[in-house]
Each structure stands twice: as structure tokens, then as C-alpha cells.
Symmetry: C2
Subunit: 422 residues, 2 copies
């Protein structure tokens, strides 16, 4: 008897048959006495279909210029799937009601196509739950201060679910998806990859930001901020499996340090080949150069990931960073046109054929020698490291893209991730 939030991804909502299965699964939870809130994505393919139509009408610079209307458009996908799920639940004999983001309301800022949730009013939802209804809330969207519909960006339904769970102080937020949990690394690259029963919030954050596409990073941030117990599990188990078994399946993302998890120092290997490297050579070593370079990049709305500034030699230094490959050309142009001339730097170099590989583990905090073990392992495979970046629970290296799989497999083995935890 608890308040539970379920989130179903687009694949899980991909056909009326699948929606019916979702309804049966939710009904099982509701009949077990839980108060149920469900956050569905749009039916798979629908968001792409809608945005594809927009692109036919306005090919260029779609996102920036047409943001408000794109959000009006794209938000319909979740509204439709939510209504369909409500109908399926009613057909199962339950009381159910669906709400679009603006009806809850889920208030956001006005950054169309990538808005951030500011607040969620829980009054309407609580009243429905108290009246015995299953409440369905559209993922991915909200309403801004001007009364315009906003969307949260791709994968935003995860964030919606976690935010709703936080607002309602839900006992748990279950993210049903097409994978059955969080793995030590991508099983398509390392067949020995193991599913983790638990993973810490910080580790999950590092993995999500590395492109492990299980969860949208902002949803993990939200979960961390509001301490929402979050579970990633498969929506492809039969809907009628035992509820207690289902409730323990998948991977639980935990927040309690002492709740002792698997003891591994390194929990997983994350990787990402969506980035490109940019270096500015011969930068005069003066205060403020990082701001001069990255301020201009940030103003162009480009997110920077790894940042490296080497020590100066002869009054000159080299400055490198990585950006998303989609922003590479734009960033190079920007640097050449606006930054280099005023900066007095010698040259801009770039490389799109790189990847980033990281070891992630909360245990790294209290263990020394983890990074050097990583470097040794890569060296044994003859892989040259181009950039290194470290945090308390992650060490990342940028290497040539062609070595990615090799590096991931070598590190997975070096840290014994194919062995079950003690």
C-alpha cells in the first residue's frame, strides 16, 4: 500500500497491444492496493513522425526559430498515448484519468524544446488518487509562465516521472524500459557484462552522462536532488508475473551510502562516441583565457564536456575541450571568427574521430591506484590516451574512436566486472 509512479517508454507504448499490456500491469499494481501514477512516453516513432512533418515545412534551424510551435506539436504524442492508456485502464475495469502537463500543472521555464521543470502542483493528482483513480500524466512536457506548452527535450519523460514522484513523495519510481536494468557496460560490446542489482545515484549520474541511454541524465539529477528511489526494469516481462518478484527486478538506484551495495570499486564502464575534440594551440598564458574561450562557446549554447588546460611553456599554453559532434563545425567556426583574433592564439585544431571511455565507481573515492590500473590496462592494449579527466567517482580518457570496443572490453576485464560481486 504505497504511492508508486510507473514510467513507460515509447517502445512499451508502441502499439495498442502493448498499451493493453501496460494497462494490465498497472491494474495488477492498483489491485494490490497501491496508489498508481503512470507517466507514458509517446508511442514509439510518433515524436519523430511529428518533428519530421515540421522539418518538411521548415527545413532550416528548426529548433531555435520554431521552438514554441515544435513543442505544441511534439507534446501531442504523449497526450494521445496517455489518453489511450486511460481508455485501456478503464476497459480493464479501473477508474483512470489522464492529464496533459498543463493540466496538472507541471510548470517549467520557457526554454522551448528543452525546458526545465520548476514546480508541480500535486493537488489535483492527490484528489484523484484519494478517489481511487489511476492518474496518468503525460511525460515530456509542461507549461510555462505565459501559458505556452513546453517540452523537456528528448527522453524528458524520465524526468517528468521522477519529478512527479518527487512532488508526490512516491515510495518508488519505476522506469519500465526495453532493457532489464543497468549493466556494468553495454552487453552488445562486452557479452560478459552483468546487470547491477543496485547502483548509487552518483554512479548512475556518471553513467547516464556518458551516454548509457538507460535514463535521461536530468531525471537522475532530479532523483538525486529529491531522493526519489528509482528503479530501472524491463517492460517486456509478462504483465502477470508475481508483483513481489517484479518489484525487486531490474536495477535500483540508491541514495543511502551505508545501505551496502555490491562491493566493487568500479561499478561500470561507460563510453560515448558522440563527442569531438577541439584544441587551441599557442594561447598567451594570461588570466581569463578559459572564460574568453568557453564563455563564447557557452553563449552559442554549446555544451562543453572534458576541459584540459596544459601548463604554460614560454608564456603560451594549449587549451583543449570536447563538445558534442553536432556542435563541432559551429564551434570551430565560432572560434576562428570571434575568439582566435582577439585571443591572439596560434591555431585551432579539431578531431571528430574520438571517443570517451570512463570507469565509474563510488568505491574509487576510498581506493588509490584505480586510475593507474586503468592507464596500465589501456597501455597493454597499445591504446594511446589523448586526454584525461577525473572526478571523485569517475576517470575518463579520450582515445581514438577505433579503439573504443577494445578499451571497453579490456577495462571490463581488468576490473573483474564479469565476476559477480562478493
Amino acid at each position: 500500500m504505497a504511492l508508486i509512479v510507473h514510467k513507460y517508454g515509447g517502445t512499451s507504448m508502441g502499439s495498442t497491444e502493448r498499451i493493453r499490456n501496460v494497462a494490465k500491469r498497472v491494474a495488477k499494481w492498483a489491485r494490490a492496493g497501491h496508489q498508481m501514477v503512470v507517466v507514458p512516453s509517446a508511442m514509439s516513432g510518433e515524436t519523430n513522425r511529428l518533428l519530421g512533418l515540421a522539418k518538411e515545412l521548415a527545413p532550416a534551424k528548426t529548433n531555435d526559430a520554431y521552438g514554441r510551435e515544435l513543442d505544441m506539436l511534439a507534446s501531442t504524442g504523449e497526450q494521445a498515448s496517455s489518453a489511450l492508456l486511460a481508455i485501456a485502464l478503464q476497459a480493464e475495469g479501473l477508474q483512470a484519468v489522464s492529464y496533459a502537463g498543463w493540466q496538472v500543472p507541471i510548470k517549467t521555464d520557457s526554454a522551448y524544446t528543452k525546458a526545465r521543470i520548476e514546480s508541480i502542483d500535486d493537488q489535483r493528482v492527490r484528489a484523484d488518487l484519494a478517489a481511487g483513480k489511476v492518474v496518468i500524466i503525460t511525460g515530456f512536457q509542461g507549461i510555462d509562465g505565459l501559458g505556452h506548452i513546453t517540452t523537456l527535450g528528448r527522453g524528458g519523460s524520465d524526468t517528468s516521472a521522477v519529478a512527479v514522484a518527487a512532488a508526490l513523495k512516491a515510495a518508488e519510481c519505476l522506469i519500465y524500459t526495453d532493457v532489464d536494468g543497468v549493466y556494468t557496460t553495454d552487453p552488445r560490446i562486452v557479452p560478459e557484462a552483468r546487470r547491477l542489482h543496485t547502483v548509487s545515484f552518483e554512479e548512475m549520474l556518471e553513467m547516464a552522462s556518458m551516454g548509457s541511454k538507460v535514463l535521461q541524465i536530468r531525471s537522475v539529477e532530479f532523483a538525486g536532488k529529491y531522493k526519489v528511489p528509482l528503479r530501472v526494469l524491463s517492460s517486456f516481462t509478462p504483465w502477470d508475473i508475481d508483483l513481489n518478484e517484479e518489484a525487486k527486478s531490474g536495477t535500483l538506484i540508491t541514495f543511502e551510502e551505508d545501505e551496502h551495495m555490491e562491493q566493487a570499486v568500479v561499478s561500470g564502464i561507460a563510453f560515448n562516441r558522440d563527442e569531438a575534440k577541439i584544441s587551441i594551440l599557442g594561447v598567451p598564458d594570461k588570466p581569463g583565457i578559459a572564460y574568453q574561450i568557453l564563455g563564447a562557446v557557452a553563449d552559442a549554447n554549446v555544451e562543453v564536456d572534458v576541459i584540459i588546460q596544459n601548463i604554460a611553456k614560454d608564456g603560451k599554453t594549449d587549451f583543449s575541450f570536447t563538445v558534442n559532434r553536432n556542435d563541432y563545425a559551429k564551434t570551430i567556426d565560432l572560434l576562428k571568427d570571434k575568439v582566435i583574433p582577439t585571443l591572439g592564439a596560434a591555431e585551432v585544431q579539431g578531431d571528430t574521430k574520438i571517443c570517451k571511455v570512463s570507469i565509474v565507481g563510488i568505491g574509487m573515492r576510498s581506493h588509490v591506484g584505480i586510475a593507474s590500473k586503468m592507464f596500465r590496462s589501456l597501455s597493454e592494449e597499445g591504446i594511446n590516451i589523448q586526454m584525461i579527466s577525473t572526478s571523485e567517482i569517475k576517470t575518463s580518457v579520450v582515445i581514438d574512436e577505433k579503439y573504443m570496443e577494445l578499451a571497453v572490453r579490456a577495462l571490463h576485464k581488468a576490473f573483474d566486472l564479469d565476476q559477480a560481486a562478493a
Copy 2:
């Protein structure tokens, strides 16, 4: 330089190419200095697609039980097409913004799937028009007092357009559709049918209610109530035809009695084969029987069209009426179960193979012998009349369905509708 409302049907919005044409046409009007409000339908096929999904999930009694969620679902079609049109207009270089019904807001009652508009707030729209924007408002939908989305029933976008035109006191409401105007009858049945340059509001009302599917009847009622000049015209003319020529094309629905129209006594022949006839025989002739019968039918939400009560004989009378064929079985069951037992009537009879054919004309008010000319013409064709119903500007007969085309052709000829008006 006027405030103009354009409404585009689903066929006109049926593809991105057609949406682009709509945008170019609207842009032509806007660039000529008009303040433009556009009400689009969903892209053709979209509403059916969405409701088809709902039907797969909840086959039985869809409309009654699932109304609120069906409206959440179906309303997304117009929201998407409206956003796409805004994007197309922006791509044409115009400022444009789209609003869902709830954003205007267009307030309705809570009769889901067939709501009625109660009020429209014009403030937001006027501010945008004043700022030089084209305003797009979703057809077919509104918001009720509880904050739920409602829809106005099939074809409701016409009503939305007229209601918006009324609220904004628009100079004219242009309904762009896949026919080029209102005809003396359906040209598929009578090739000699002529397009009317003008038609009176009352005639249009009778024709719309007879299933001439050019305009939704409620939109005509609305136009009549608020004296909105309404024009039906083709959306398949090239978008770049001369604006003045376009502004005079199609059929204008007029409200001024003295503004003299085509002089024909009968303006058109309407017909409808969506009805079924129900007769209750041997009803004891007491006060209140009409209410006893039709009250129960109305309570079941069944609309009744023609009603005939014959004079009593031996203390018994026969009572007949027509309902939509979709409601036929339900109505027969209702009468047998609930009405006949308490009424003490002898028998219920029904016939679904009927049609209704009407002559419509505002000139009938001041001309005698029109009805008898109709009856003579049908008699000459050997067509038996089952029921007759008359109003000031319409005479309808219920006949065997198989004679429908024959009757329409005979009447079209008898009233010289193939001849241009004097």
C-alpha cells in the same frame, strides 16, 4: 483591411505540401493588410486513426464511457495541424502563433465528444493580432469548467471557426473546403445541380441538417445567432489567384432578407439516408403520451428528427418518428423494455431502409402550392410517401430508400433548379 477568419478542412491540411499551400494563401491575405485568424482541422485521416486506436483498446460503447479520454486523444489532431501551420507561416516569413482551445480559452460545457461552446475569450487573440501575428486556433475543441479538454463532435471545426469569428466580430468567416460552394443538390446525383452564389441562413440550416455535408449544422446556427457572414469556398484553387476574385467565389450565406438573392422559390433539394423510422402502434390516446415516449428516448441521448402522431381512432393512435440509424437498435430495445409495458401500446415497428428528401427554400414562405407540387412530382414517379413533415421553408418526405436518387432528380427538375436564376 479587415479581421478575417479562415477555416481549412482536413483534406486541405492533408499533407505538408497542402499545409504549405494553406500558409501561402493565408500569407496572401495577411500581406493584403487583413488581420488573419485561421482555424484548421486535423490532417485528414488523423482523427480516424486516433479513434481507431481507442476502439482497439475499448471496443464497446466507446463514446459514452470513455468520453473525456476520447477528447484528450482526438484533440491532439488539431493541435498538431495548428502547430504545423504556424511553422509553415513562420517559414513564409510571417509571425504566427497557434493556440489549443484551452489556451484561448474556448469554454464549453462538459458533454464530452459533443460539447457546446459557451464563451470565447478574445483578449489573447486580439493582442496577437494587434502585434501583427497570424493567430491559429485549433478547431473542434475547447475546455470545460473542470479544466478538461472537450471536443465539439465531428465537423466541429466549422463551429469553432464561426464561434471565433463571432467572438472577434470578424468581417467574414471563410470556410475553405473540398467543394466549391453550396449546390442546389448533390451533383453526384443530379449532374445539372448548380452552385448557388448566395443562400439564406435559414435555407443553409435546413440543408445542413439534411446531411448536405458542406457545413456542420451547429456552425450555421452559430452564424445565424451572431450574424457572422459565412462563405463556403474551395481550397483547391491555386493559392495565388487574385484575392478579390477569391473573396467573391463560393457561396455566401446571408442574413439580410432584403439583400435580394436568387429568386427561386425552392433553392435546393436535400436528402438524408442516415435515418430509420420507428412506429408505435395502438397507443392509448391520453395526454402525455408524446412525452412518455420521447422523454425516454431523449434521456437515452437519442436525437429524434421527424415526429408524426396520427389522429386517434377508437381511443388508440399511432406514433411515428425517425432517429439516426446508429441509434435504431438501442431505441427499439428501449421502447420494448421500458416504454411499451407502461404505455400499454400494442406493438413497435421499425424500418431502417428509408430516406428523407426535402425541398428547401425561403421563398416557400410566400408561395402556396409548393408542397403539393412536390407530392405530385413524386406521385408521377410512382414513389409512395410514408411520412410528411413541414416547416416554413422546408417540406420533407420519408420514402423508401431505393427511390432516393429518383426522387431527388425528379424534384430538382420539377422546381427548375437546373436553370440559372432570373
